[in-house]
């Protein structure tokens, strides 16, 4: 389950059971005072691989604290 994170390509990926729902939550520190939470979900493929591409995630789809 533990993901590998490519912070340059903005990819979060890992392995779970095939064809399973994967939920991801990303806490992003926009500044030292502002934190944004992103919620993501995706189904793993037939081999169990999952990947989230967080490039260009819309702020409107996130919660800002």
């Amino acid at each position: 389950v533990e993901p590998q994170i490519d912070r340059v390509a903005n990819i979060i990926e890992g392995s779970v059971a095939p064809n399973s729902l994967v939920l991801a939550q990303v806490l992003h520190l926009k500044t030292l005072k502002k934190m944004t939470t992103f919620q993501l979900d995706k189904m793993s493929d037939d081999s169990g691989h999952y990947a989230f591409d967080t490039t260009g995630r819309s702020i409107s789809a996130a919660m800002t604290r």
Partner: protein, 168 residues
């Protein structure tokens, strides 16, 4: 980053921190985290590109799936190597893990109530003065300057004090 998945009645999850490296001026200890299974090598070079230290590191778990590495840098003779302005630290945890050590300073004379300093350009910073914390962002030259007396971000005045209670 937190990841969850469900299989039957069981829920599996993991918590990880996005790979990062942290280094302090004139401190030979480096901390950070990397993806599990990463061969982690850190190199410190001076402004001329000469190698000052190269070290390997392994992470240790601290909480659930969160792991950190902590390593001290030494040269081939066993002497501690300290990052200073102009040095460049690279780490294999990410292709952009390259830190050019900035020229840094911090001053806050009680006679003027003005804190001035310098660190990396275009970065967010926090300055703690006594028990108060002030936030800002450096300009393109890495400089910042604000008045402790007139800091609008907190909406109230703050007077710098001499001695340990006024440390910044």
């Amino acid at each position: 980053v937190t990841v969850f998945t469900q299989r039957g009645n069981d829920i599996f999850g993991a918590i990880v921190i996005v790979p990062f490296v942290g280094v302090h001026d004139a401190n030979n200890m480096v901390v950070g985290t990397a993806n599990i299974g990463t061969d982690l090598v850190l190199e410190l070079r001076n402004s001329h590109g000469d190698l000052k230290a190269d070290v390997t590191a392994g992470a240790f778990p601290i909480f659930f799936g969160i792991s950190l590495f902590e390593v001290s840098m030494y040269d081939d003779d066993g002497s501690a190597v300290y990052p200073v302005a102009g040095d460049v630290l690279t780490a294999t945890l990410a292709s952009d893990a390259v830190i050019a050590m900035p020229t840094s300073s911090l001053n806050g004379p009680a006679s003027t109530d003005i804190v001035t300093g310098r660190c990396m350009p275009n970065v967010f910073f926090a300055v703690r003065a006594g028990v108060e914390t002030f936030y800002g962002k450096t300009d393109s030259t890495g400089r910042f300057s604000f008045s402790g007396r007139l800091n609008g971000r907190l909406g109230s005045g703050y007077w710098l004090a001499s001695g340990p209670s006024g440390a910044i």
